[in-house]
Amino acid sequence: MSYIAKPSAHHPALPKNALGLTHRDYEGTMSTLCAGCGHDSITAALIEACFEMDLPAHRIAKVSGIGCSSKAPTYFLSRSHGFNSVHGRMPSITTGANLANRDLVYIGVSGDGDTASIGLGQFCHAIRRRVNMTYIVMNNGCYGLTKGQFSATNDKTSPSKKGDANPFEAIDLCQMAIQLGAGFVARSFSGDKAQLIPLLKAAISYWGFAFLDVVSPCVTFNNHPTSTKSYDYVRAHNMAVDQLDFIEEKEEITAHYAEGTSVSVTMHDGSRLVLHKLDQQHDPRDADAAIMAIRSNAAKGRVATGLLYVNETQQDMHDILATDARALNSVPMAELCPGVKALEAINARLR
């Protein structure tokens, strides 16, 4: 960490968004993570995505668990709501918050330890319930905060910095997410903002459960020459299956996209995803094909990145449960808490 704070001074010609804000207005406090940590780079991508989407910070809620990754929400959107929960419990906190107030944008930030070990059950059920949120795993293959022990996503072929072998196979969170019914599943790399920012924007505007697994090197414990989650390794084995253009509703579509080589998906809010297929076999609307793409690339030692799977018409938890269309804080008190008589009537019905 640095001793001095990032100064408030900014470039005089910094662009402003529709809200009259610069990207500096979306920052948080100064990061205390190790210099060069991939998590900081994902933080910067999130800042850029929210800025470009003109999101008002006070309509966003950041929720996280425990870990270096889960500390990251402090470093962006200091004017948003936030909840730093206990280890692995980010999904249930977000589920509860979303039930109470369906109008906020939910950004869940977790780590590979937080999600694939202690929080695995929570992760599964948040997907199963189709919570309308963006779930980001900052995936470094280790428990960074507790000094770099192997996590459940570390590849079997990837030993520790000191040379200890990893005895177990890795959990592939993207495959799991597709299987469990996540409507939007993508993988990216902290070192490739050109790919990551449009994916974040698409995930945030997606209606339903959007999952983003972002490989994010731990410079301190897992960026050594034999690691498969290092900057060099990921760069050398990164296989983008597609390239995403995220087009907001307000923007005009100017470019011409050739049939066959691109897929266009209209989102719930009217924005559009245009995917240029880099791998001709890959159709991101086909869940089986998506899993195939991940597995076949992995078999060749490659990391498949890009928008892997998208379900154009997912229903979220509120749709499924047919809950009230209003956030609870906008429901009048008399309705929200109808009183003793109403309770007695309900109890009478159950007798």
Binding site: S2, A9, P15, A35, G36, Y231, D232
Partner: protein
């Protein structure tokens, strides 16, 4: 393959920056680059912040010879160049900090260069005792030269003494810095006007330096000029008469014609000599007035109105005495090719009644005492042909500098010319080629890293407004010509202002082989100047940076290709030199290195404080 790599394939390429060329980092130090004598500004500002005023003074004295004088009245080309002025509204008060060093330096005699008692046998004639000649003497005396200084006035200083009013520059300050040079053993011949260069040359000097300035004030020939002559004065001559106390009063109503710094000094002096209704009139619109903004501000602060677009048409007389000036009002009709406004009369005329007129419409050179058949060529504007590196005229051994070389400039340029002329004279006296064997500048660069997040300079940027200069009580200073208006900063104000300096000499130095492209530096940089980007030709690259680099006077720092094939491109424009990039870099690919640049001079003895910073 990376999605990022698929982004627009570039056509052109920008070559990697050659940081081994000292000009690259020198240019980043905007103030030092803009200073004609390349004073190491950030270094002396740090010394002031540490309270080391004598050391700060000596660095200045070595570079610019007259820190006490310049700390008050320098034209300060460094300030409009200052990076702080692009980050915030106002630049660092560089000039005023210089004065702090002079005001608080204490005893410095021990730091003066030794003057050899055994002379080297070379005799140099210096004509005119302005800042240009005095600089030549300062630079040559420590080398054993004998310098004879001819000056028509009774005292040295040139226009600094005769024209810059004492409420801006007290005589004590002037005397101290001039006497210091004379004390090196210069042989002054005050009250000695040179009437023939040919005769002077026959005295057998090894070199002659001409620093006679641009002594002729321009006149304006409009109807009534001759009849009104008793009360129409040439500004610079009038200021000289005031300085030598030949003139003590002026009429109640005074009109100044002209909008440069001379006009500002004339109007403020007139106010102090009894003028009650003093007006400045300018032919052109206010925005193109030649006077420095701070001089205009000071005049207006003293209640002097400025009438722009007023073109003098006629001096009006009453019983043979000046009674007023008739002006034609002008209006702007577009601009000419050089961007100057084109003016045309509106037809409207106004009369300003007055008792005296001060004409401040410019100065000219005049060399009636230089024979035209002694090998010194003049151009079509009657100016000597002078080489702009060596300062030598077309006659070997005769040099020009200051306002005498290319017309009116300012003190700091006169000093810069003096340094170059002294270098040339020394080379010539050693039989060396003035251009090819000219010594080059020296520079060095070394890391400021002290510990993990510790640097040997204060890198924490704080938004602070420029510290206002305390002024003497107006009621008092307007009554007395000799009361200095600006009081100077005290140590506390000086410290506050010194803290505004960004330390632009502490350079961001990038090492491409160490970079793992983690983006940490790019993300932390508060002013978005670092980019990892596909290489393109420079115009395209400038356009595609995170914040387009539209200030073309500022360079891009471009690396060799990185592992992904991209390059690092940094726009130097508004870098705060905060060092956060270096703090956040996990591999040490960025380092903060202090860059010292030392302009060559004739005498190393006059550079000891500078040289101490070289490694």
């Amino acid at each position: 393959m990376q999605a990022g790599e698929l982004a627009a394939r570039s056509r052109g390429r920008t070559a990697p920056t050659d940081i081994s060329n000292p000009s690259y980092f020198h240019k980043v130090v905007d103030c030092q680059w803009a200073c004609p004598t390349h004073t190491p500004v950030p270094e002396y500002i740090r010394l002031i912040a540490q309270g080391r005023y004598a050391a700060a003074y000596m660095l200045n004295w070595e570079s610019n010879v007259f820190p006490g004088i310049l700390g008050r009245v320098c034209d300060r080309p460094c300030e409009p160049a200052c990076r702080r002025g692009r980050v915030e509204e106002k630049p660092v008060a560089i000039c005023r900090l210089k004065r702090v060093a002079a005001d608080y330096k204490g005893e410095i005699d021990a730091f003066m260069p030794d003057i050899p008692s055994a002379k080297n046998g070379k005799r140099i004639a210096l004509v005119g005792a302005g800042p240009a000649s005095l600089t030549v003497a300062r630079d040559l005396m420590p080398l054993g030269y004998s310098c004879v200084l001819f000056e028509k006035d009774a005292k040295g200083g040139g226009l600094m003494r005769t024209n810059i009013p004492s409420f801006r520059l007290p005589a004590t300050v002037l005397d101290e810095e001039i006497d210091r040079i004379l004390a090196f053993g210069v042989e002054p011949r005050f009250g000695h006007e040179i009437k023939s260069l040919e005769a002077l040359l026959q005295e057998g000097f090894d070199a002659v330096f001409i620093g006679t300035g641009a002594p002729k004030g321009k006149d304006l020939n409009v109807p009534g000029r001759t009849q009104a002559r008793a009360n129409v004065h040439i500004g610079i001559d009038w200021l000289t008469s005031v300085a030598f106390e030949h003139v003590h009063t002026i009429g109640r109503r005074v009109v100044i014609i002209g909008g440069g710094n001379t006009a500002m000094d004339c109007c403020r002096t007139a106010l102090r000599l009894g003028g009650m209704d003093v007006r400045v009139t300018v032919r052109s619109p206010r925005r193109v007035m030649k006077a420095s903004p701070w001089e205009i501000e000071d005049a207006e602060h003293e209640g002097i109105p400025i009438f722009d677009n007023h073109s003098p048409k006629e001096f009006l007389l009453d019983k043979g005495r000046l009674a007023g000036v008739r002006f034609q009002k002008m209006r702007e009709v577009g601009v000419d090719r050089s961007g100057r406004p084109k003016l045309e009369p509106t037809g409207e005329e106004v009369v300003f009644e007055c008792d005296d007129v001060l004409m401040a419409i410019g100065q000219e050179n005049s060399f009636p005492w230089i024979e035209r058949n002694i090998g010194i060529e003049f151009d079509e504007w009657h100016m000597p042909k002078v080489d702009n590196t060596t300062m030598m005229s077309t006659r070997a051994g005769v040099f020009f500098g200051g306002d005498a070389a290319w017309g009116p400039e300012n003190i700091i340029w006169a000093v810069a010319h003096g340094h170059q002329a002294a270098l040339s004279i020394d080379l010539m006296c050693h039989g060396k080629d003035l251009a090819n064997e000219r010594p080059k500048s020296s520079s060095s660069r070394f890391s400021q890293k002290m510990g993990i997040h510790e640097w040997s300079y204060k890198n924490d940027y704080a938004p602070l407004n420029r510290v206002a200069m305390p002024h003497a009580d107006k009621a008092q200073s307007l009554r007395n010509l000799k009361v200095e208006v600006e009081l100077g900063y005290d140590d506390k104000l000086a410290f506050k202002e010194a803290e505004r300096c960004l330390n632009c000499d502490v350079q961001t130095v990038f090492s491409a082989p160490l970079c793992i492209e983690c983006d940490a530096c790019m993300d932390i940089c508060p002013v978005d100047c670092i980019n990892f980007i596909d290489n393109e030709d420079e115009p395209a690259l400038r356009e595609h940076l995170r914040v387009p680099a539209h200030n073309k006077t500022q360079d891009l720092y471009v690396s060799t290709p990185l592992k992904t094939g991209r390059i690092m491109a940094k726009d130097e424009d508004v870098c705060l030199h905060c060092g956060l990039c270096a703090e956040r870099c996990p591999t040490g690919a960025w380092d903060m290195q202090k860059f010292m640049y030392v302009e060559a001079q004739a005498a190393q003895a006059c550079l000891t404080h500078h040289n101490a910073y070289l490694r």
